[in-house]
Amino acid sequence: MQVKTRVETTINGEQVEFLCEPRQSLLECLRDIVGLTGTKEGCNDGNCGACTVMFDGRIVTSCLVLSVEADGREITTIEGVAEGSALHEIQKTFLEGAALQCGVCTPGFIVAAKALLDQELNPSEERIRLWLANNLCRCTGYDKIIRSVQDAAAKMQETNA
């Protein structure tokens, strides 16, 4: 049994503290210690994007972040995307546009897509495809995901206008 380290962090706007082993990834701690299982494990080596979270305003694959690195940082997971009972525009367009089938890659896609639309509201199709190239989906062929991100961008532009 390894000695545990205390980590103080902010997750989805809430102060969270937990004890973890140095070898545990942020992904493992989010899921198994904090209990936020919306962030998924698909490969545990940074290649599928299912575990994408926001880490101090950047998107990261949480399987490649050691949990001790989360100390003093701000993390947003899929559980923090909706505002209370109101779904985020991307969540709505994913549902209306049938942008998910099995749904296991969906949390990572939504977190990554939100990070893009937080910065720019008029990304080209090519820009969206490049931005989401680290998120693998095996069910959809990406078509409806790309279209749903485009739809969300258009709706968010309307709201901002």
């Binding site: 998924k40 698909g42 290649n47 969540q91 549902l95 546009g97 049938a98 099995c102 969906t106 409806k144």
Partner: protein, 764 residues
Amino acid sequence: MSTNNYEPNMVLSTKQFKVVGTRPVRHDGADKVTGRALYGADLQLADLLHGAILRSPHAHARIKSIDTSKAEALPGVKAVAVSTDLPAPGDQVVDIGEGDTPLKYVRDNVLASDKVCYKGHAVAGVAAINVHVALEAVGLIEVEYEPLPAVLTAPDAMRDDAPVLHEDLTTDELGEKTDKVSNVAKHFQFKLGDIEAGFAAADTIVEREFDTSTVHQGYIEPHNATVLWNNDDRIHIWCSTQGSFVVRDVTATVLGIPESRIRVTPMEIGGGFGGKIPVYLEPVAALLSKKTGKPVKIVMSRQEVFEGSGPTPGSHIKVKMGVTKEGKIVAAQASLAYEAGGYPGAMVTPGAMCVFAAYDIPNVVVDGYDVVVNKPSTAAYRAPGATNAAFATETVVDEITEKLGVDAIEFRLNNAAKEGTRRADGPKYRSIGCVDVLEAIKNHQHYNAPLEGPNRGRGVAIGFWFNVGLQSSCAINVNSDGTLALVEGSTDIGGSRTSIAMQAAEVLGLRAEDVRPTVVDTDSVGYTDVTGGSRVTFCTGIAAIEAAEDVKRQMVERAAKIWDVDAETVEFDGGTFRGVSNGNSEMSFKELAGRLGKTGGPIVGRATVQPKAVGGSFSGNIVDVEVDPETGKVTILRFTAVQDAGKAIHPSYVEGQMQGGSVQGIGWALNEEYYMSQEGVMANSSLLDYRIPTALDLPMIDTVIVEVPNPGHPFGARGVGEANIVPPPAAIANAIHAAVGVRMSRLPMNPPSLMEAIWAKERQ
């Protein structure tokens, strides 16, 4: 990439309904976009232990001994399980959905006993207080192996001097069991007409050989299982599976206990494509739970998914076709040798059934060989066997159209399978949509659009896949507010619970949102077969329709009782009951639902079905590619998928199946393969090196849904999940030929193999 002015997704509808054919939001949608949906790995239980599996480092070896003492002594380790913890299989033969298989093979694939047959083969399981300790313990198990030479391809394994995987495996030759020990588990043949006379009548004959690599389904969620062997000897399994009843029955068989002692709760499933039908982890977790008295969870790593679960077979295929100068195919012959992996059961039979399924050919011979090799024991992958076969046939057909100088679609139309066409494996087609798919391609803007620029080319191909019926069950509870709670057993991979609920809603004049579908455990619903064979929306849909009809019948009787009239005089239409003999009194479904409690009690509709009148599906592609002649890289410029859905219950989900299947086909065509060393070690067992298509690799995937109703389904639905993966590799190969003039005979058509082909052509 192409932003022409056209409709990207078209539905060529032949019949309209109220709910069927609309696009409601899926019932599990809110859970899946918020992270609340619970997949197998998300399950937390009190006292949960975590497991890990020791896997063979050798592709082929005898196990001399296993010493688990050091692992058991590691602090935090609670139990270790090996194959001797399972009951001896004896000579028992079991049918786990792929025909009769010796139980020893099923059991040995779960935990190897005397031999390991592939790198990654499970040898032992450990349960510990956390996964890190379990993995440390796995490293402390000492196994003495006697390595044996590995054999990795079907042609090599079929040689007389090949290393033998199973000393007890003898060839089943044309239905007769022989005593020849061999890696060929089975050789079968389909025959139609007179093949020699057919080729004698041909003016042009093209004969080619093809090789396709082992590829993986590549679902994003790894296999997982959590098992509690309770103190009353009842077992509860939570897992990610395409068939909860299959998990129950196979686990019971391997453990040697009655299936009734096992309850399987299917968790949300993160992709399957056929790869989540076999059982790997459940019996091991069950043994570990029995030993510890605690629930045990095991989750595969991505490397374990590649090396320890079942990919789909690599294959060696020969196709020979003869045509008259008028463009009629008069003879076709094929030989298909598929790699089963470590144990028999390559999906070669369906491949052989599909190889010429799109054509009306009078004289046919097809030989199939199921060959064991030292690779993971293979599993189904979306239209299993058919994609390999279509790659061969559709490439040969393209070469024939080139030789004859005829249009690729006109030639296919001239030879297309129709209602009444007999396939070489026996059946005659009932109503099918092969011609309709070809017509839709011919009329599509994409097929007729100019394609300019160097090294660019357009290809087409078509493909077929079956639709199976099997068994499904459904129950519907009527709520007092007039909504329904629908209970079914088909694990939902792509939105099927909504397509099923829509069919019940259609029958009862309700909205899709008024029906709440739930996929429940094996103790809570009647037997339901796997989510596979493109059967769920078709077969479980029929179960939902019949359960809704049962609700309707009981509601009519209740209305008659309330009105004190004969049930025959009560009509139901558009959600309203009407008493014809009662001055046309009316009562809405909702109103009557609210009165059930005081007029005779609750109403539950139920149905179990085993439909026979299934409807297979044809699909076709138009694809434009650009080949970089310096690097051999192929870029997909534009892709159109056409498929016969019979009746698209939820068109967005049908489009999703078509787009997803197309992109899996694109990956299979251009990138994906098990890159094996000569020793049988997979060199690319990560999602970095086994590269499935990313968003950046693709254009939009345009779709055309053709609707040729299936007479065997009340709304005309056909299974649509699979046929879409069949044509892409061939269509892309044909486009590559059109672009740079080389004929590709090997999958994947990656840059090295394309450069070899281009250089070979330049040397000529």
